[in-house]
Symmetry: C2
Subunit: 380 residues, 2 copies
């Protein structure tokens, strides 16, 4: 099967780019002396996880659906990096009882007590990481918070055991320079290490000191005291990561294959059959790269974007391609180059959101042949 034979819209994964991205972050982890525990919230694919971990290595997940899927595919060292709510513990216990070391996170003493009690009831020992906030301001307590030791104390080792600390410097996505990302990476590292040290000083174990986001994993100068990092987006990259200089455009490994389904010469736009669902409505990439719209446009060969074109507007199943720069608006689009029925590839703004709309990747080695199909686990 070839690109031309695929239905549109479809999600295309360039395996050679994926391999290069993975090798790059594996190299970073080696240099920094930490374990790479990739966050599978982006790829949600066992095949990608195998490549990213060199086998069935440690991974991070964002949903219990992912945890269940990856456990079924032989991954048994998993961190579920969203704050646990007690109602989910029964499903977690089932996975733990089945042999999966599924670690949970919390930043709340009451939850820690409940997890401890439920572990006793369910006959398992839940392994818990305390969530630390190192500047993102989403979940987590400050490294110096008075709540830290009481949470550790609530995990008395029978129903629940303290496994370490975990932080995520997601505000690195808002940085304006690589220097700023480096500073955020150092604050992420220092905050996690400080919390770990406070736990150890108080006599608690702290086996895992976990940090990570794609930008900080790429730019951190050192990770002394850290045991692992959890970047996720790096397997594919996207236009947002391009805008903050995490990658080159040639590193973006996933794109949406679409068909041209309209020519509107009087309105100077091309219509494609990939809209708000097929591309997502995430426009974050425009902050650093104005004119990105809902994605940049490549020829079906898909190497680099066509200069000056973008998906300027989307409806549910319609994308409107036009000149990305207002200066070019007076120039007619090259309609004859893109006949109706011809195909284009759209580079996604935010691949985590875009990929979530598809149940599979059509895999290429950079050419037009489909060498494999890899499934994904969506939903919750």
């Amino acid at each position: 099967m070839r690109l031309d034979d695929l239905p549109t819209p479809s999600l295309i994964l360039d395996r050679s780019r994926l391999a290069r991205n993975v090798a790059r972050l594996q190299g970073r982890a080696r240099e920094l002396g930490v374990v790479l525990r990739p966050h599978m919230k982006t790829a949600k694919s066992a095949r990608v996880a195998e490549l990213a971990t060199g086998g069935k290595g440690p991974i991070t997940v964002s949903t219990l659906a992912e945890a269940t899927y990856f456990a079924k595919h032989g991954f048994h060292d998993i961190t579920y990096a969203v704050p646990i709510v007690p109602a989910k513990l029964e499903n977690v216990a089932r996975l733990v009882a089945g042999g999966t070391d599924l670690k949970l996170i919390t930043d709340n003493e009451g939850v820690a007590r409940t997890v401890e009690a439920r572990g006793l009831e369910l006959g398992v020992t839940f392994r818990i990481l305390i969530k630390i906030d190192t500047g993102l301001g989403r979940a987590g307590i400050a490294p110096g918070s008075a709540d830290l030791l009481p949470i550790a104390a609530a995990l008395n080792g029978k129903g629940a055991a303290l496994a370490g600390v975990l932080t995520h410097a997601g505000h690195s996505y808002n940085a304006h320079s690589i220097e700023e990302i480096k500073a955020i990476a150092e604050a992420e590292r220092a905050g996690a290490v400080k919390a770990a040290q406070r736990l150890r000083d108080a006599g608690y174990p702290c086996e895992i000191v976990s940090v990570g986001s794609t930008p900080t994993a790429i730019h951190a100068d050192r990770l002394d005291g850290v045991t692992e990092m959890r970047p996720g987006n790096f397997v594919f990259f996207d236009l947002f990561q391009l805008g903050i200089e995490s990658c080159a455009v040639e590193d973006i490994a996933v794109s949406v294959l679409a068909s041209v389904d309209g020519h509107h010469r009087e309105r100077n736009h091309l219509l494609i059959d990939a809209g708000g669902l097929a591309l997502s409505k995430d426009t974050g990439a425009n902050k650093n790269q104005p004119g990105t719209g809902y994605g940049l446009v490549c020829l079906p060969g898909g190497k680099v974007p066509l200069p000056g074109l973008a998906v300027l507007d989307v409806h549910q199943e319609h994308g409107l391609i036009g000149h990305a720069k207002a200066l070019d608006a007076i120039n007619k689009l090259p309609f004859d180059r893109f006949p109706i029925g011809s195909r284009l590839r759209v580079l996604p703004n935010h691949v985590c959101m875009t990929a979530a709309m598809y149940d599979r990747y059509y895999v290429t080695d950079g050419g037009s042949e489909i060498v494999d199909e890899w499934d994904r686990v969506n939903g919750w």
Copy 2:
């Protein structure tokens, strides 16, 4: 099963609100003397389609996956209202040969010729509606376009036959008043009727004259000369439709059930386990209702929003609830009213996007009991 037993995030459908919304638009169609051909791009559910059509009546779809699913569920009068590309004709032919009257749209003479030729090759007669643009500026030709009659001429009745004209006044979503929506509805009607008349004057048949968007279907004063309307969003409504006065807040029939999974008193926000995937990143509703964020928040009973609260920010699996009005930012959230593990319902900004993330609806009759589960067809 009850709301409390569901996993979170989950998609909840209030069947009594759905029934009321359906009755309202069925009443509008009767008043206006047209057939209701609801657009199933919103609900993507056979059960909803049965209610909305009073059986296995005429429907509209936005993907071939929907067409295939609904045909399998006994719906055999379907319009696929996205411009056809020739590569999709083989799948269409399979459905047509199986007994489904699956009508296609085009606005391009070259495509019309190809469809005609492919119909002959595949041994079916494709039924085609010519797409008319009545102001949205997405797909379609103007009612007075010189392209109209050549497209009709290209459909010579063997491989493809002209079935009528179709338009969609989606720009009604951008209207600033009901008067403006009424004017758009009249332009939508008049444009479709004009194109139909031009075809008939030239000796072509024009059985179907199809218009429709939820706002224009609700507010049109008359639809003389039109045969059918195709609103879709009305089955559920959402905060965007509330903002343009298509509905009352008590009409919004779908919401996302989420669990509180974090208290951050120092940052004055609650965390829920419904983020950018569970709610979508569509923020269009803020245009008419600033402060809507990524959705308004209800108690699990879910009747009306809690005053002043909204999902202010989302990450992939995290939603941050805070005070929607800056004036209230100094007031502490009522954390004790929403303990960790408690549940909330989020009303969606744009339900077509939100619902697309779920494989099923958990159905209630407005109470806390789950009376049914209805599937959905996602993807392409």
